[in-house]
Amino acid sequence: MTKKRERLEVIFDILKDISEHHNSIKPTPLLRRSGLSSNSFSEYYKELISKEFIREIVDEHGKKYVTLSDKGFTFLEKYKLIIGFIGEFEL
């Protein structure tokens, strides 16, 4: 059985998916790639917007895209170190 992902790991995976799509992806493929239920994804999505990790952009055709903010990039950059810190101190 696969281990349930920790909250931080889920956030990292979502942000990494956006980054790997040239920092622009539509919400529906992002939901598919996240492997979460739509309810759960919706909660994470709202949290990431409210914490300003991601931004929604609407193009000239009215299509919605998701991009990373500077804070989102910082999270991706620091994630491995923070996880190392959490592991080191058994937090």
């Binding site: 931080l8 956030i11 914490k51 804070k71 910082t74 999270f75 620091k78 170190l81 923070i82 190392g84 810190f85 959490i86 080191e88 101190f89 058994e90 937090l91």
Partner: protein
């Protein structure tokens, strides 16, 4: 015999020890701020709060020992009788919360965090009130010793059959244990010599330095 006006330990070694300890505690607190702001991870939050409370406790401990010392040197026993209980109350509360937050940082995933915090604050207030009423910082030491023994026993029971005491838990145990010894040091009837005071203070600094060094490995 009252202490001499120029007590090397209280006037030179204590301020330096307190200053360096408080600097380490606050460096740990501020160094981990960005990680906490980015993740809002509760374990990091409790860890930071533990060192914030320990920093404040060491400041209070120093002020308390200074008041204790100066009232004896200048024969101001009545004013010591008035101020001591308040210092003891704050000292008891901050240091108990420091110990609790260290424990919380290890066990927060296993308990309801709201209940855990209410429990911690209630015990800290209760302990402070008892110390305030008895007007004795020794009461803080006795009660925190009991808390620490319960925490260690619980930790062994919860991790029974798994790996032995980890280096991190040993460090946490040292932080809490050395706090109690350093609190004992401010009593003039302490059971050990001045040389041992300095030894324990040096070990405390080494423990804080090791923790800070470990943090720097991950958080630049």
């Amino acid at each position: 015999m009252p202490p001499h006006f120029f007590d090397l330990h209280i006037l030179i070694i204590e301020p330096i020890f307190t200053l360096v300890t408080v600097i380490f505690c606050f460096l740990i607190y501020f160094k981990t701020k960005e990680s906490y702001d980015l993740t809002r991870y509760k374990g990091i939050g409790y860890f930071r709060d533990a060192f914030l409370f320990f920093g404040l406790s060491y400041v209070l401990r120093f002020v308390f020992s200074l008041v204790f010392f100066s009232t004896i040197v200048f024969d101001l026993i009545p004013s010591r009788e008035i101020f001591s209980p308040f210092f003891i109350f704050l000292l008891g509360y901050f240091s108990t919360m420091g110990i609790f937050y260290l424990i919380f940082s290890l066990v927060w995933k296993k308990f309801n965090n709201r209940n855990m915090l209410i429990f911690g604050h209630s015990i800290a207030v209760l302990l402070s009130v008892i110390s305030f009423i008895t007007r004795s910082h020794m009461m803080i030491i006795y009660l925190q010793c009991i808390l620490l023994v319960i925490a260690v026993v619980l930790s062994f029971v919860m991790h029974m059959g798994r790996k032995k005491l980890s280096k991190t838990k040993l460090l946490y145990l040292l932080v809490a244990g050395l706090w109690l010894i350093n609190l004992l040091v401010i009593d003039r009837r302490k059971p050990f010599s001045s040389g041992l005071d300095i030894f324990f203070e040096a070990v405390s600094l080494a423990v804080f330095a090791v923790i800070y060094h470990k943090i720097l490995k991950w958080i630049k």
